[in-house]
């Protein structure tokens, strides 16, 4: 049981972005991927979810042994993969509650519906954890939300869908410190021995709140350095440029 990424190569037309990426995330583990802009961090998250802009040229992604690269975007989600988007999209006219109900219903056998009472009970409990006002249930998905509200909404979806593996793509971007604490608390509440996390971040700050077990540095489409929590602390102390420099040497 694990999310295994094996020698993954992916490109957009004319440019290879992931160049043989290897990574294994076991349930219960929190991995962090750090790297400079353009290293392929966000590409990795999109490729794992099946975004059509990216073409996988070789490699495998196994979710508990099953290759998900042949699956449609929605099937990957139902198989247990979750992406908290860096830039969550606005869906005008679709209420948050209806959206979540549709997502949960998609996981049930055809013809079955979710129990509305249980659904709202769970939804409100999760929203309370994220200090989200009840009015967010009837508001259109992400429409007119502030940056912080959008990120909280992503974590709310994670909490409701309870995936096996969750990827957080720059969840800290655009958050002030209070929002960062709330979002991190939500993520930490979801940590469990049955769930793996991949936290993608540009800055080390987030990792003070979501403490990783393993830290990777991504550079030019490959993981060039892997360490423990101390690697992120080292980053904090010595700056990000230094790591980039060292990894250039390591990759050379």
């Amino acid at each position: 049981m694990s999310l295994e990424i094996k020698a993954l190569h992916a490109q957009i037309p004319g440019r290879e972005i992931l160049k043989g990426l290897n990574l294994t995330i076991n349930p219960g583990e929190v991995h962090a991927i750090m790297g400079p802009n353009g290293s392929g961090k966000s590409t990795l998250s999109k490729v794992l979810c099946g975004h059509e802009d990216y073409e996988v040229t070789s490699g495998e992604v196994l979710l508990d042994g099953e290759n998900i690269l042949d699956m449609e975007v929605d099937a990957r989600s139902r198989a247990g993969l979750f992406l908290a988007f860096q830039y969550p999209h606005e869906i005008p006219g679709v209420s948050n509650a209806n959206f979540l109900r549709a997502a949960l219903k998609a996981r049930l056998p055809k013809g079955e519906d979710i129990d509305a009472v249980k659904f709202y009970k769970q939804l409100y409990a999760r929203m309370d954890q994220l200090e989200m006002d009840r009015s967010f249930t009837s508001r259109s998905v992400n429409e007119g939300f502030s940056g912080g509200e959008k990120k909280r909404n992503e974590i709310l979806q994670l909490m409701m869908l309870e995936p096996k593996y969750a990827i957080l793509d720059e969840t800290d971007s655009g958050l002030d410190i209070d929002a960062l604490k709330i979002v991190s608390r939500g993520v930490n509440a979801m940590r469990s021995e049955n769930r793996g996390f991949l936290v993608i971040t540009h800055y080390q700050r987030l990792l003070n709140y979501i403490q990783p077990d393993i830290v990777h540095v991504l550079k030019d489409g490959r993981i060039v350095k892997t360490g423990g929590k101390e690697l992120s602390l080292e980053l904090e102390e010595r700056g990000y440029d230094w790591v980039t420099d060292e990894s250039l040497v390591a990759a050379a």
């Binding site: 979810c49 975004h51 059509e52 449609e72 975007v73 929605d74 099937a75 989600s77 139902r78 992406l83 988007f85 969550p88 999209h89 606005e90 869906i91 005008p92 006219g93 679709v94 209806n98 959206f99 549709a102 997502a103 998609a106 996981r107 259109s140 979806q157 869908l161």
Partner: protein, 439 residues
């Protein structure tokens, strides 16, 4: 000459549709004269040609008069079937059910005292003065003068609602028009007149029972008196091979607010022409529409927001969600007369294309001859955003279900502006049913 003898003659315009037959004894003379004049006008007027600006990107040939005859009186079986299929609002002030322009059921028990809510025929007999003043008084300038003349010549069904001063009818008046039989044509009319500070809500349904290629040429006259409120919905759900024409004329008096909603779900060709004349200071007209064409359906929409008084506002929002090889044509004009200062007029048409083969055409226009005017018009047309779709699918929702959610959301913006309550829920349910069919 008997009616049958007349109907066997080809009419002078080469159309098979027959000269109207009226009960001359029970119809007021003034109306007979108007109907006869209209029949003459209908025959005189040419069919709008392809060069007619008001029919650009469309074609009057879509209305196949040659194939149609006025609908025959319904059989007992027709009536029973229509009544069984009429699922109206639970909370209503009144309900009328017509089949082929014949009244088969009415319920007006819940109307407040003083309100006139009667069939067109009864109104002709008992409220001739109101009809003389308000029935089809506007020249048809958006392209369908010929069809309006045909309507006037044939009209015998529909409902007239006259709400006296300071009376509010809280629940809607609901009217069903069923058409049955091959190539049957109906000509329903709705006239709503409100006194000062009166309020009323009226909904017309146009539906097919059975038979091929029905035709409905319907007209609604909405006349809002000082400070009054009219809410009106025309919900067209005729069979896929039917043709529908709906012409509405809105007159908003001082501080009156009229909200009208066109819901176009049926017919192979449906055309709506909606005119708002803002004649009173501080008047307001909200003009709303949703359509959901599928297959090869064509939706043709022509609008005019005609500002004739200062401090009036009009706000038009039309949304079309297109599937398959369907087409929509929107042509809208805002005119602000000299002296209609401080006008606020907005016009938005948005088209969501759910297929590469669907086609939406928008022709917005403005003519402003006053000062201190706030006007805007905008038309957009495009496919469902890939990123919105990706976002929903990334939560495990299937492609088709995601598209459905997005389209419902797209249309919800208009529907919510119309209001809420049972009527709204009913309309949403009908739209959902059509969406299911579109998949």
């Amino acid at each position: 000459m008997s009616a049958e003898a007349i109907s066997e003659q080809p009419s002078p315009s080469g159309l098979e549709i027959t000269v109207p037959v009226r009960d001359e004894k029970n119809t007021p003379g003034w109306f007979l004269a108007r109907a006869e004049a209209a029949w003459t006008e209908f025959q005189k007027l040419p069919m709008p040609g392809i060069k007619d600006e008001n029919w650009r990107y469309s074609s009057s040939k879509k209305i196949e008069l040659a194939d149609h005859t006025p609908a025959a009186a319904p059989t007992a079986a027709n009536t029973a079937a229509a009544l069984a299929a009429t699922q109206g609002l639970k909370e209503r002030a009144a309900r009328f059910v017509f089949v082929n322009d014949v009244l088969v059921e009415s319920d007006t028990a819940n109307l407040p005292a003083g309100v006139v809510c009667v069939t067109f025929a009864d109104a002709l007999r008992d409220h001739g003065e109101v009809l003389k003043q308000h029935f089809m008084q506007r020249e048809m300038t958006l392209g369908s003068a010929k069809f309006a003349a045909l309507h006037l010549a044939h009209v015998k069904a529909g409902v007239v609602v006259i709400v006296p001063k300071n009376v509010a009818i809280e629940k809607p008046v609901e009217i069903f028009h069923w058409v049955v039989g091959d190539h049957a044509a109906i000509f329903p009319h709705t006239l709503v007149v409100t006194g000062d500070n009166a309020e009323v809500s009226v909904v017309d349904h146009y539906r097919s029972l059975e038979g091929e290629g029905g035709l409905s040429i319907a007209i609604a006259d909405l006349v809002g008196g000082r400070g009054s409120k009219i809410t009106y919905a025309a919900c067209q759900e005729l069979a896929d091979d039917a043709q529908a024409l709906h012409l509405s004329s809105i007159v908003a008096g001082r501080d009156a607010a009229v909200k009208s909603f066109q819901v176009q779900l049926g017919a192979s060709f449906s055309r709506s022409e909606s005119v708002s004349d803002l004649i009173g200071e501080g008047s307001r007209s909200d003009m709303l529409s949703v359509s959901l064409p599928i297959g090869e359906q064509v939706v043709d929409q022509r609008t005019l927001q005609n500002h004739k008084a200062p401090h009036a506002s009009s706000d038009l929002l039309y949304k079309n969600a297109l599937y398959g090889k369907s087409r929509s044509i929107f042509s809208g004009l805002i005119t602000v007369d000299e002296g209609a200062h401080y006008t606020d007029a907005y016009q938005t048409c948005r088209n969501l294309l759910n297929s590469n083969e669907a086609e939406a055409t928008s022709l917005p226009g403005l003519e402003i001859s006053a000062d201190q005017v706030k006007c805007s018009h905008g038309a957009t047309s495009g496919p469902i955003s890939d990123e919105e779709l990706f976002y929903l699918k990334a939560r495990g929702i299937s492609d088709s279900e995601s598209r459905k959610l997005i389209i419902e959301g797209f249309l919800a913006g208009v529907i919510e502006r119309f209001g809420n309550g049972e009527l709204l829920d009913t309309l949403v349910a009908r739209i959902d049913e059509k969406l299911e069919r579109a998949e």
